[in-house]
Amino acid sequence: MFETLSYTVLQQYWWILVSLLGSILVFLLFVQGGQTLIYQLGKTDSDRTLIINTIGSKWEFTFTTLVTFGGAFFASFPLFYSTSFGGAYWVWIIILFAFVVQAVAYEFRSKPDNLLGKRVFDAFLFLNGLLGTILLGAAVSTLFTGSSFIIDSSRHSTWTLASRGLEAALNVQNLSLGLAVFFLSRVLACLYFFKTINNEEIIERTKKHLLYNAIPFVVFFLLFIGLLMFKDGFSVNPATGEIFMQPYKYFHNLIEMPLVLLLFLTGVVLVLTGIILPVISYVKHGEKGIWFSGFGTVIAVFSLFLLAGFNNTAYYPSVADLQSSLTIANSSSSHYTLTAMSYVSLIIPFVLIYIVYIWRIINKKKIDINDIERDHVY
């Protein structure tokens, strides 16, 4: 089946899959967003335990999606893996540290004799929420703003800046996407709490925080999109593979790929709908918000990935040496490997089905502190 597909089609198929994983990951960052709200929404120890336990049963999904995103990128576009991870060393190391401390924090925080104390593990959760979202957002933004590396004929890469990727966080556009992702993750967390927590005081505080975070999210997101639409982009000449700068490249990409434009607009509208519905009537729509905004996040981010890689665009551009930029065509695995991996990808729908099924079982009803005490406590 997949053997008959051309190399280009397989490369595009894998770009779509990696994009899908990346966009699901951004949605699942609501776990991280929730972690930064623990002390703002929970005023007592039992409040905080309740909040942590509602997101706690989901942390592994986010974590696993990040790992799978990395693995899939490695398998399908290994040149990105070797160039970006080895090059932007410090950014990735900080992200990794932020995720290491997250995983243990959940399991260790409430256990007696945990060496560092509950507060330290909660601080780990906060750091993960703060750094994980901002740095992942900034890293995604470099797909549009570029990085400083050179690749030689043996595909060895050299990062030209000593800051090793940290420079990305100083670029206004990168930072605006980083902050947009940070505030979006908090918005999604608030909407998730509406759906899962049965505690009036926490919900009242959550309602306020939904707005506090929705406003900066919209501001930073619009700033990012504005800068994106007006900037020069990294185009590829499909005949020669040569990379060149094209004014308003990403705006053109949107116009030239109407389906992507449609996805993007639908995504944005859904995210906003999810935020507005509970504001209009919490009683009627409070629990629906997460579905609208969650689904909207997935398709909006998905469309951004397509914007970065499709329509003859270099998805990991180099500002140090334009011709070193990575494109879907020049950085992928071989035809054989992409074919073999495509067969493996057929299990993705089954994975999604059982995840959704299990998720529904676990979240069948809202929980309060009494439910937690009967169960496994984080």
Partner: protein, 514 residues
């Protein structure tokens, strides 16, 4: 693929990978084995309906949960380290190596992480049978994760199912099934997961023995020991069979590692197996023989074990390094020469391609293909660079095997005492069982030391030495991250041990709150 990096960067990158891998492996074996032990216990609970078994299941599940999280946390580092610290490696073999990692994520991690949540949070939300299924799926998912990463590791030790593409300067997969079903991969998977089952069995046995020593939870402890000892005996047999096969595969595919592990310098027929010996000196990279100051050996046994023929010739370190025409062994010097020819041919190929010189391209390609099997040797300068640390591999192997046999005795004793209903007054046995817990972890780590130290200098056997696989970063950055990992992981390990000990002291709770 033609660059060499400074020794300090290579050493620190290796040190960091070793550090993070060792820490990761402090937690994984218990996850692999305890997941099955818990599944057995819950199955008994469902079959018997006995609340006592529910209590037992939940207690071990709590310990599983504490260990599981830190195993996951330390694992993410390893995956991304291939990119951050071994980026040239990532490109050179990413076309093959990346695939198992991706499959691992899609097929195994999601099963594991989805059903582990049900296991912990689903007791009152779903039917008993569905909960049991989730527990089994968690165990299967965890073990499937191990399968894929071990396939990837085996491929580095015995690269198959691929060819080198000079246009992309990398190895490309030609047969996925060859990679997945390579005999080295199958055996490594079975041997490694079995080692996890042994660790978990010793852990359950040791912790239960502590309860018996304290005269607490007698029935709980005895029932736990039954499960651990039976499982332990079965998987120990398995580990012996797969271990034996491992040695044979190593002798065939990685003869230098095998010779180092056995401290054989001069090849011989009817080679004896040194059961235990004391080496005179640490002679990494040295071609001079390292004599034993003391040894206990079984005549002919090494030849029989490695080649199923008591008369078989076992090549020594010097034969492999210096060559032995009588036995058809090419010297390292000749391999280095062939490797350099291959590297030069790749350069010539690129130059000819650039100049549109079709004949030149064909000639260079032919030279490259003829010599490609020795490509990695081209980055070495002298024969002694091909010799791994003899002392470390020799001792690690013996300690691993000796401890492995000790655990079999431990399981058998536990069962015998239980069957004769005499276990309760065996305080010496309880103490031995408790001390065996750290020994089980050590044995498992020794296994990895043999595998990974023994294959040096290769990252990919014969094709890529560590000196050319690293990322192009300054050694200072790696030193800093090494220190950060060392501090963080040590803190987390101490925290985990403290939490575990406390939970064990608290003991199983009535009603089984996990």
């Amino acid at each position: 693929m033609t660059q060499l990096y400074d020794a300090s960067l290579v050493d620190w990158s290796r040190a960091q990978f070793a550090l993070t891998a060792i820490y990761h492996w402090c937690f994984v074996p218990l996850t692999l084995g305890l997941s099955f032990i818990v599944a057995f216990m819950e199955t008994i609970y469902i079959k018997t309906g006995s609340e006592e078994w529910k209590r037992i299941t939940k207690f071990w599940m709590t310990l599983f949960g504490i260990n599981f999280a830190i195993g996951v946390a330390t694992g993410i580092i390893l995956e991304f380290e291939f990119g951050t610290n071994w980026s040239n490696y990532s490109w050179f073999v990413g076309d093959i190596f990346g695939a198992p990692l991706a499959v691992e994520g899609l097929m195994a991690f999601f099963i594991e992480s989805t059903f582990v949540a049900v296991m912990f949070f689903g007791w009152d939300k779903i039917s008993k049978k569905f909960h049991l299924l989730s527990t089994w799926l968690t165990a299967i998912g965890a073990n499937l994760s191990a399968l894929w990463i071990l396939v990837a590791n085996s491929w580095m030790q015995y690269p198959v199912g691929m060819h080198f593409n000079p246009d992309t300067a990398r190895n490309e997969m030609t047969n996925f099934w060859d990679v997945l079903f390579s005999p080295v991969a199958i055996n490594k998977f079975l041997h490694t997961v079995s080692s996890g089952y042994v660790v978990a069995s010793v852990f359950v046995l040791g912790v239960s023995a502590w309860f018996l020593l304290k005269k607490r939870e007698i029935r709980f402890a005895k029932l736990s020991i039954v499960v651990a000892a039976v499982f332990g005996i079965v998987v120990s047999l398995f580990i012996i069979i797969t271990g034996d096969q491992s040695a044979r595969l190593m002798a065939k595919h990685q003869p230098m590692k095998f010779a180092a592990m056995e401290n054989i310098y001069e090849g011989q027929r009817k080679a004896p197996l040194v059961v235990f010996g004391v080496l005179n000196k640490n002679n990494t990279g040295d071609l001079d023989r390292n004599d034993f100051s003391l040894k206990l050996e079984i005549p002919n046994f090494l030849s029989s074990m490695a080649f199923l023929d008591a008369n078989a010739y076992v090549p020594g370190i010097r034969d492999i390094a210096q060559g032995d025409s009588e036995h058809g062994i090419m010297s390292a010097a000749e391999k280095i020469q062939k490797g350099k020819t291959a590297i030069q041919a790749l350069k010539d190929y690129n130059a000819a391609k650039k100049a549109n010189d079709t004949t030149g391209t064909k000639t260079a390609l032919s030279v490259l293909q003829t010599n490609y099997n020795y490509f990695g040797y081209g980055f070495l300068t002298e024969a002694k660079q091909t010799i791994p640390s003899v002392k470390l591999t020799f001792y690690s192997f013996r300690l691993m095997v000796a401890l492995g046999f000790w655990f079999v005795i431990l399981f058998v004793l536990a069962l015998v005492f239980l069957l004769h209903n005499r276990i309760e007054n065996k305080r010496w046995f309880f103490r031995l069982a408790i001390i065996s817990i750290p020994l089980a972890y050590l044995a498992s780590q020794f296994g990895w030391v043999v595998t990974e130290v023994g294959r040096q200098p290769w990252v990919i056997q014969d094709l890529m030495p560590a000196i050319t696989a690293v990322s192009n970063i300054n050694a200072g950055s790696v030193k800093v991250t090494f220190a950060l990992f060392a501090i963080l992981f040590t803190l987390l390990l101490i925290a985990e041990i403290k939490i575990m000990l406390k939970q064990i002291k608290i003991g199983p709770k009535d009603g089984g709150n996990s």
